[in-house]
Subunit: 210 residues, 2 copies
């Protein structure tokens, strides 16, 4: 599935879906050619999160767009989603790999250079599908993030790894091209699609940059 880690990557945020319901944002984005969708829910109960995951999986299947679950390996298993996105305070990636098996898509956020060094010590060739440089730019969407990497950070990680790089944080049409040129294989966006008047057109516009 490594070829799926390219292009436009949608990370969901229900409160930011101001013009359309989440499921419509996801459907429209898939119509516009999104490559991957990550369901992120920070307030939902496990039951609500699971039901939403099952619903989005049904929406995305006809488009063959993989669905990743933020953090929750159990909800990935229970919903039939394609994998998980892990932050540094989630389950260790090798534990998730063990529970999900070899076919699951597993991505890991790298928030600091220390995170990269830790990963190298754990495994110089980690069985991961991508690394997420997080955050590339400062963002209002997520407030618990570390110092922004900037374009120099994307270039730094690009020199270190052959794994696909997903860039996330403060990415929009005006700066997206620079992030790709710095070495990102995929651009993860939240508000640029979730809050768009036309999520399909917003996806198409971003996709054209690749």
């Amino acid at each position: 599935m490594q070829n799926k880690i390219q292009g436009v990557y949608l990370v969901t945020d229900r409160p930011l879906c101001i013009h359309h319901r989440l499921e419509d944002v996801v459907r429209l984005s898939a119509t516009g050619g999104v490559s991957l969708v990550q369901l992120r829910e920070k307030e939902a109960t496990s039951r609500e999160f699971l039901e939403l995951a099952i619903h989005l999986k049904k929406i995305l299947s006809p488009f063959q767009v993989p669905l990743l679950i933020n953090d929750r390996v159990d909800l990935c298993l229970a919903s039939g989603a394609d994998g998980v996105h892990l932050g540094q305070s989630d389950l260790p990636w090798y534990v998730a790999r063990k529970l999900l098996g070899p076919k699951a898509i597993i991505g890991l956020s790298i928030e600091t250079k220390e995170d990269w060094e830790t990963l190298q010590k754990e495994d110089p060739s980690p069985n991961l599908d991508y690394l997420a440089v997080s955050p590339v730019f400062d963002t209002k969407t997520k407030t618990n993030t570390k110092t922004a990497w900037g374009l120099a950070g994307v270039r730094w990680l690009r020199e270190k790894t052959n794994l696909p790089i997903v860039a996330i944080g403060g990415i929009h049409l005006d700066n997206a091209k620079d992030v790709i040129e710095a070495g990102a294989n995929s651009l993860a966006v939240v508000s640029a699609i979730c809050s768009a008047n036309d999520p399909k057109e917003a996806t198409i516009a971003l996709k054209k940059l690749f």
Copy 2:
């Protein structure tokens, strides 16, 4: 493991561990003869929750006291815990059973008579290890609970099911005997052990009532 669902059942709550650290409360309670421990963490990250689960599992193994995880099936799988306790807004019990297999201990909170009716419709002989009557009495420990069942509620569920019944909510030494007489196989307590000056003695005192 059905015989484990009897006696004193400790549900953890770190903020209520005022005299001892959580791990010491758990160790002392095991020394006092606790039958089962449920790790409940509402604020921890997945990583912290997992590390705590692995730590408590190590503490409890020599006592052969099972460790259950509240809600998180993935953390149960990853920590080697013995099962999960599920509330009505957690994963459906049959999904948890599928993910955890036949040997896991799975308990389900029944908060209303409607919850019982739903369970009966799902499966007249559900593959569960216990039902938790929640809450038996009003409690300050958990604020999102439904109307208290009272002793009449315990008697009502006792007539309906042959599954072990765990009573939870507002149980302390003064009312524990009544709850057992109403039909509870096990008494789940939080503050009565977590906040006790002597968690071992608090466990022994409750255990004597059986």
